[in-house]
C-alpha cells in the first residue's frame, strides 16, 4: 500500500513537472532566443498615389465617404450649387449630386451626407426663408429623387444623417437650451420616417454628460472661437452598416460609438480609446464588420487609425507612415475597404490644385 501511494505521488510529480515545462515554453518565460524576432504589428505603407487632372480640389468639406465598390464621394463647399462629386478609384467622375437640383425647395446650404447600401445619397439641407430642415435624397446616378422635411416644432441644427433600409433616417444635431441665456447647444437625435414624421427621439447615454460640458463651457465641446456650436455633435460621424444598424460617433476622446436599430433603439454603445486623450476622432468608415476611426493630435497633426469590429473590440492600430519625420497620408481619410484586401484611401491637393488620392495598405 505505501509503495502504491508512493507510485501515485511519483506520477503526480512527473505530471506536474511536465506541465510546468510545457507552460514555461508557451508563456515565454524561458530565456529568449535573441535570434527569434517578435512579430511586429502591421503598419500602414503608402502603396500608390494618383493625381486626378480632371478634378480640382483646394479643400474638402467633412464628411468624405465611399461605397462598397470603392467609389469616393467628396464635396468642397456647402453651398447649393457645388455638389457632391462621386468618383471611381481611377478618379473618373461618375455622378454629381447638386442640392439646387431639388426644384421643389430653395436650398441655402447642403451639408453632411451618407451613402446608403443601395447607392442612394442622403444629404442634410438648410432652406431659405424658413427654419425648416430637410434631407435630400438622390439616386446613385446623381438624380434628385425627393426630400424629407424633418418635422419638429423647434429650431435646431442637424449635423449628421444616415438612412435605414426602409427609408427612415436617423438624424443627429443640436438645439438651443431654452433655459439658458448663453448659447448652449444641446444634443438632439431622432428617428424620422421616410415622410419626415418624427418617429422617436433617441436617448443616448452620454448626452447628459455632453450637455453638462456645454453648459459649463468646457472647451472640448464649446471652444472659445466657436461658441455657438457643440463640437461633440457637429464633429460626429454617422454611417449605416451591413447589420442594418446605423452607427453614430460622437467627437469625444475616447470616441463614443452608438449603434441604433431601425426602430430607433440603441442596441450597442462602446468607446474606442486612442490611448492618448489629446487624440480626437475626426472620421469614421465602416467596411463589412469593421470600423476604422481616424484620430488626430491637434497640435502635431499626427494621426492614428484604430480598427475595431462592430462590437467595438479593438483589432488593429495603424500609425501614419512617415518620411523625414513627416506624415505621408494626411488627414482627409476618405475610404476604408476590406475587400479584396484592406486598404485606406486619403485625399490631398496635388500640385496646381488637382485632386490627389493616396492609397495605403497594412503590411
Amino acid at each position: 500500500m505505501p509503495i502504491r501511494r508512493f507510485t501515485r505521488a511519483g506520477i503526480y510529480v512527473v505530471v506536474w513537472f511536465g506541465a510546468a515545462l510545457i507552460c514555461r515554453g508557451q508563456s515565454g518565460t524561458a530565456p529568449k532566443d535573441e535570434n527569434i524576432a517578435t512579430p511586429k504589428p502591421p503598419q500602414l505603407a503608402l502603396v500608390d498615389s494618383v493625381v486626378v487632372k480632371s478634378e480640382m480640389a483646394q479643400g474638402f468639406v467633412d464628411p468624405l465617404k465611399c461605397d462598397g465598390d470603392g467609389n469616393l464621394y467628396l464635396m468642397s463647399a456647402v453651398d447649393a450649387t457645388s455638389g457632391i462629386r462621386k468618383l471611381n478609384a481611377r478618379g473618373e467622375r461618375l455622378a454629381l449630386f447638386v442640392a439646387n437640383s431639388a426644384s421643389d425647395l430653395q436650398v441655402q446650404l447642403a451639408t453632411y451626407f451618407s451613402v446608403a447600401p443601395n447607392g442612394d445619397v442622403y444629404q442634410l439641407a438648410f432652406l431659405r426663408k424658413t427654419i425648416d430642415r430637410a434631407v435630400l435624397v438622390y439616386s446613385k446616378d446623381g438624380k434628385y429623387k425627393r426630400h424629407i422635411k424633418l418635422n419638429v416644432n423647434f429650431d435646431w441644427v442637424p449635423s449628421e444623417v444616415a438612412s435605414f433600409p426602409d427609408g427612415d433616417v436617423l438624424v443627429a444635431g443640436s438645439k438651443s437650451d431654452p433655459n439658458s441665456d448663453v448659447h448652449v447647444k444641446l444634443p438632439f437625435t431622432a428617428l424620422f420616417s421616410s415622410s419626415g414624421t418624427l418617429r422617436k427621439q433617441v436617448a443616448l447615454e452620454d448626452d447628459e454628460k455632453i450637455q453638462d460640458m456645454a453648459v459649463s463651457g468646457d472647451s472640448r465641446v464649446v471652444p472659445p472661437d466657436h461658441p455657438f456650436s457643440n463640437m461633440a455633435v457637429v464633429g460626429g460621424q454617422m454611417e449605416a452598416a451591413g447589420d442594418g444598424n446605423v452607427y453614430l460617433m460622437r467627437r469625444m476622446s475616447p470616441a463614443i460609438v452608438y449603434a441604433v436599430s431601425p426602430d430607433g433603439e440603441v442596441v450597442k454603445r462602446f468607446s474606442v480609446d486612442p490611448g492618448n486623450a489629446d487624440y480626437m476622432p475626426i472620421s469614421m468608415h465602416i467596411a463589412g464588420r469593421r470600423i476604422a476611426i481616424l484620430f488626430r493630435e491637434p497640435q502635431t497633426d499626427e494621426v492614428s487609425v484604430k480598427i475595431v469590429d462592430l462590437e467595438g473590440r479593438e483589432l488593429e492600430t495603424y500609425d501614419e507612415p512617415k518620411v523625414n519625420g513627416r506624415g505621408t497620408l494626411g488627414l482627409a481619410f476618405a475610404c476604408y475597404l476590406t475587400n479584396p484586401k484592406e486598404r485606406l484611401v486619403f485625399l490631398y491637393t496635388a500640385n496646381d490644385g488637382y485632386l490627389g488620392f493616396r492609397i495605403a495598405e497594412p503590411q
Binding site: M56, A57, K129, T130
Partner: protein, 151 residues
C-alpha cells in the same frame, strides 16, 4: 351668454389676424437663424495639412448678412459666400429685436495680392490663423477665391 359668444368670436377673429404676424416674425429678413459649423480638410505644399471648423450662418433669407467663415486653409482663403459680421442664433436675435445687419461683403482675397499694402487695407483687414505658418495671416474682403473645385 350672448355677450360671451360675441367676445369669443371677436377673440377668435383677432387671433386669426395676429397669428400670421407672429409666424412672419419667426423669419426676419437679413437675420441669422443659427450657426452651422462644419469641418474642412486642406493640404498643401511643404506637407501642410489642416482640419478645422468653419462657422457659417443659417439665414432665413439669402444668407447675405451674417457669417463668420473666414480662414486660411493651407494658404487658400476660405470664406462663406456673401458673408460678413457676427453670427447670432435665432433665439438671441429675436430677443434683441433683430440685429442691424452689417453691410454684405461678397469677397475675400489675400492681402498679399500685388499692389496691396497693409495700410490700404487695415480698415477692412481680417486676421485669421495660418496654421501652417504658425502665425496669423491677413485676408481682405476683396475678391473671393471660392474653395469649391471641379471641372
Amino acid at each position: 351668454m350672448w355677450s360671451r359668444g360675441i367676445w369669443l368670436f371677436l377673440f377668435s377673429v383677432g387671433a386669426a389676424m395676429i397669428a400670421p404676424t407672429f409666424a412672419r416674425a419667426d423669419i426676419v429678413e437679413g437675420e441669422c437663424y443659427g450657426t452651422l459649423t462644419y469641418y474642412m480638410y486642406c493640404s498643401g505644399e511643404g506637407g501642410c495639412k489642416e482640419y478645422f471648423p468653419i462657422d457659417t450662418c443659417i439665414d432665413g433669407t439669402d444668407g447675405s448678412f451674417c457669417n463668420t467663415g473666414y480662414g486660411l486653409c493651407c494658404g487658400t482663403p476660405i470664406e462663406e459666400d456673401n458673408a460678413s459680421g457676427e453670427c447670432e442664433d435665432a433665439r438671441r436675435a429675436l430677443k434683441h429685436g433683430g440685429r442691424s445687419a452689417a453691410k454684405a461683403v461678397d469677397a475675400v482675397a489675400l492681402l498679399r495680392s500685388p499692389g496691396n499694402s497693409v495700410l490700404d487695407l487695415l480698415p477692412r483687414a481680417i486676421f485669421v490663423p495660418d496654421r501652417c505658418a504658425h502665425s496669423y495671416g491677413v485676408i481682405d474682403p476683396g475678391a473671393f477665391h471660392k474653395t469649391s473645385g471641379g471641372t
